[in-house]
């Protein structure tokens, strides 16, 4: 004789790290393109670099020091996370950014949105400050240089 006995679980909702939230990450991407891309354009690695820098105060200081030391300080490794790629896909589908020849570009709709974020003085206060400070001082060439160091390591 078989008794059907069940154990039931109630699925609890979990708190989620804010970097894994779509609109948050998409807004961050738009801000990076807006402040740090040449003509609103940036490579995937550049986006990863800045996204990593915005993750913590320590990271952003490392990047700042790297720039202010005229690229002499060590910046050995920055993290890469798959959630950024997923956020990029969403932003692309939403027609906020375009993807062409390995670069992401800010589209008009994205630009309008990021300008709204920029005007709102209560949003992304520290992030905007960091991104503005670094500005366009990290050209793709430098990033590629960093990558080749990884390969040789």
């Amino acid at each position: 004789m078989k008794d059907n006995k069940y154990i039931s679980f109630t699925e609890r909702e979990m708190p989620l790290y804010v970097n894994y939230r779509p609109m948050y990450k998409v807004s961050q991407i738009l801000l990076i393109l807006y402040f740090n891309g040449y003509a609103g354009k940036a490579s995937l690695l550049k986006l990863h670099l800045f996204s990593w820098a915005l993750k913590s105060y320590e990271n952003s200081s490392i990047l700042k020091d790297y720039v202010t030391s005229n690229y002499q300080n060590k910046l050995q490794f920055f993290g890469i996370e798959s959630t950024l790629n997923r956020a990029l896909n969403l932003a692309y589908a939403e027609k906020l950014v375009d993807f062409d020849k390995g670069n992401y570009t800010l589209l008009a709709k994205g630009k309008k949105f990021v300008e709204q974020i920029n005007e709102d003085e209560t949003l992304f206060v520290n992030e905007k400050q960091v991104l503005k400070l670094i500005g366009k001082k990290i050209p793709e060439k430098i990033i590629n240089g960093l990558i080749s160091q990884w390969k040789n390591a």
């Binding site: 699925e11 609890r12 909702e13 979990m14 708190p15 989620l16 804010v18 894994y20 939230r21 779509p22 609109m23 948050y24 990450k25 998409v26 807004s27 798959s82 959630t83 997923r86 956020a87 896909n89 969403l90 589908a93 939403e94 906020l96 709709k109 309008k112 949105f113 709204q116 974020i117 709102d120 003085e121 209560t122 949003l123 992304f124 206060v125």
Partner: protein, 673 residues
């Protein structure tokens, strides 16, 4: 009060001087009549420009003005007749005194952000008056370093004292003039689309309501201010209380006592005697005055003892030294373990603090997310609605891959979760802080005991090595020490009274603040309600007289929250036909003034209305409006209208109306002089 006494426009062109003659306005109703494109709007806008209020037309400085004042003058066939070189407006106004304002629209040398204020009736009684340069909108616009703000000058001239109001960023700043004028200066394009439609955007919370509160001089903003004042007082008192408590605590520490009946937060103290100090021993707890008695008795006993010789005491002294040494090492062990515990607590406290900073950062970032998600939703982004833009399936508000099967919290809930954690950490931190300060107190006590024991041992040892025939210094020293101790406690006991009084009086203040807080009405005072129901009565009477039909008038009321007319909590706008809505704006505009007048509010008793006969509101009704305006004794009205370019309409509308006419005629009013 504010009156527009006279206006004159002067335009220098390559073909000579153009402009208007001197236009005087009556103290009561002035009608400015003219065919389309004769220059009515130019005059209306010039008045606003002269007051530095061109933001009501939708912009700052000269760009809001018509091209006749800044680029070219057209003839009646709309061909360019002359090119503008420099143009300015002179506006004579009266408030607490009469001044004349000169402002340039187009000029090579004078900035349009600058006005010159002449101290007198430059237009109606021309003379050489002294003038002061002032700036509008932007301090940088003024050439002179000492320029005044024109609007704060105008505020004083009208006799207003504008309140501080809360802006969306939480700061308190002055209410702007631009925020108030749209309730009695109504422009023809946007002005008739809503109540107070032309208030510029200043990220002010409930901007219409703030203007209305001010005009009616409601207590509600005073209540708001009173509330924030009380909050400030409360914080000050908490601060004073804490300081006093810390002083008290250091007094208690000096005499190794503990505080009873009061702690570091303000509370209600009913009697002075409920604040006191206690001295704890292992056996029992003494009230400080009891303890002083004990010391006194002990001292008395010691005085009665005969001082023995050193030799008699030698053996006993040795035993005592051993005992004291044992005690000393106990104390030392105790001390080092207490210090360890304190250090542990401090390091825990520090790690909590770090965690708190992280959590607060998390909270800010989650708030960002919530905000951009809302903004995105307004823009119609699919991701902001938790939909995938590719497959239209749910996104769960997460970037994690689908095969990680967790259900994330909704962002609002996530925020609450973080806030709850922050609160928890704060509680931990405050507990640890208390522990740390308790431990510190213990350390101090132990240190005191250790040094006391050491000194006792020293005394006994000295005694053992001295001559046997000498009197024992131990007892003498014990006496001296006890005397010193007794004196200290007596002195501190005297100080206690002043603390008791201080806490009592702080507590009385505290009670006062709390009861005042209780007494404050929620937002409107009784008097406010009276004013609002008066406003409602007048408004509804006027609606009837203007033949408002879109809704039964009994269903209309003035919202106690927004002070605007509503039907079933919705704006009247949605339920009224276009012409009826114009009537509603007339009624509301007039009702505001009459209510303010009845209760001595802040209405400046001025109306400037541009084409009130919008949306075919009807000649009869317009006639009724003009008549009402014309009948006011102490209120100036300036009405601009084309009267459908028909004399018949004009006659019908002004029948039985008292007014003075400025007729611009059928052709361009700005002509070569």
């Amino acid at each position: 009060m504010l009156k527009i006494r006279a206006l004159q426009i002067t335009i220098n062109t390559d073909k000579g001087i153009y402009g208007t003659p001197l236009l005087r306005f009556s103290d009561s109703l002035t009608i400015v009549k003219g065919f389309n494109s004769t220059g009515k709007s130019t005059l209306f806008q010039s008045i606003l420009y002269g007051l530095g209020l061109e933001e009501l037309i939708g912009g700052k400085n000269e760009k809001t003005m018509q091209s006749v004042l800044k680029s070219e003058i057209l003839d009646n066939q709309n061909k360019i007749e002359a090119n503008v070189i420099e143009s300015n407006i002179l506006l004579e106004i009266e408030g607490t005194s009469v001044v004349t304002v000169k402002r340039y629209i187009s000029s090579e040398t004078k900035n349009s952000g600058l006005v010159e204020v002449f101290n007198g009736k430059l237009l109606t009684e021309p003379k050489q008056y002294d003038y002061v340069p002032m700036y509008v909108h932007d301090k940088g616009a003024a050439d002179s370093k000492n320029a005044f703000g024109f609007h704060s000058f105008l505020e004083k001239l009208i006799g207003w004292e504008l309140p501080q109001v809360q802006y969306k960023d939480g700061s308190y700043r002055k209410l702007y003039l631009q925020n108030i004028f749209p309730s009695f200066v109504i422009e023809q394009k946007a002005g008739w689309t809503d109540f107070l439609a032309t208030i510029p955007y200043y990220s002010l919370l409930d901007k219409e309501t703030r203007a209305l509160e001010f005009l009616l001089n409601l207590d509600s903003w005073k209540i708001q201010q009173r509330k924030s004042k009380l909050k400030q007082d409360k914080n000050d008192l908490i601060f004073d209380w804490r300081n006093k408590f810390n002083e008290f605590k250091s007094l208690a520490n000096q005499i190794a006592c503990e505080i009873r009946g009061v702690n570091n937060q303000p509370e209600i103290i009913n009697s002075i005697n409920s604040v006191y100090l206690v001295y704890l021993t292992e056996e029992r707890t003494y009230n400080i005055s009891e303890y002083i008695n004990v010391l006194e008795e002990e001292y008395e006993e010691l005085l009665e003892l005969e001082v023995p010789n050193v030799g008699d005491q030698a053996e006993e002294s040795e035993i005592r030294i051993n005992k004291l040494n044992e005690q000393l090492s106990n104390y030392s062990i105790n001390l080092s373990s207490t210090i360890n515990r304190k250090n542990l607590a401090i390091s825990k406290y520090k790690s909590f603090k770090e965690r708190l900073i992280e959590l607060e950062n998390d909270k800010v970032q989650n708030e960002y997310h919530l905000k951009v998600k809302k903004k995105g939703a307004e823009e119609g982004f699919a991701i902001a609605h938790d939909n995938c833009p590719y497959c239209s399936q749910g996104l769960n508000d997460s970037l994690l891959p689908k095969d990680i099967e967790i259900v994330p919290m909704q962002i609002e809930e996530n925020l609450e979760y973080i806030k709850a954690q922050i609160n928890l950490i704060k509680i931990y931190m405050s507990n640890h802080q208390n522990d740390i300060s308790d431990l510190e107190q213990n350390i101090e006590k132990l240190n005191f005991k250790i040094s006391e024991t050491r000194s006792n041992i020293r005394t006994l040892k000295t005694q053992l090595t001295s001559d046997n025939r000498l009197p024992s210094i131990e007892l003498i020293e014990k006496r001296l020490k006890l005397k010193a101790r007794l004196d200290l406690y007596r002195r501190k006991y005297e100080e206690l009274a002043s603390f008791q009084e201080a806490f009592k009086s702080l507590s009385d203040e505290w009670v006062q603040i709390l009861s005042e807080e209780k007494k404050l009405p929620k937002s409107l005072s009784k008097f406010d309600y009276k004013k609002i129901s008066e406003l409602e009565t007048i408004f509804k009477q006027l609606l009837r007289k203007f033949h408002y039909r879109s809704k039964p008038i009994d269903s209309i009321s003035i919202s106690r929250d927004t002070l605007l007319p509503v039907v079933d909590r919705y704006s009247l706008k949605f339920d009224s036909s276009a012409s009826d809505f114009t009537r509603a704006i007339w009624s509301y505009t007039i009702a505001l003034k009459e209510t303010s007048e009845r209760f001595e509010g802040n209405h400046p008793k001025l109306f400037i209305l541009d084409e009130p006969g919008q949306q075919e509101a009807g000649d009869n009704d317009l006639q009724f409006l003009l008549k009402r305006l014309g009948n006011y004794e102490e209120t100036q009205s300036i009405v601009f209208s084309s009267f459908h370019q028909s004399e018949t309409t004009f006659d019908a509308c002004t029948k039985d109306v008292d007014f003075e006419l400025i007729d611009l005629g059928e052709e361009k009013f700005i002509k070569k002089i």
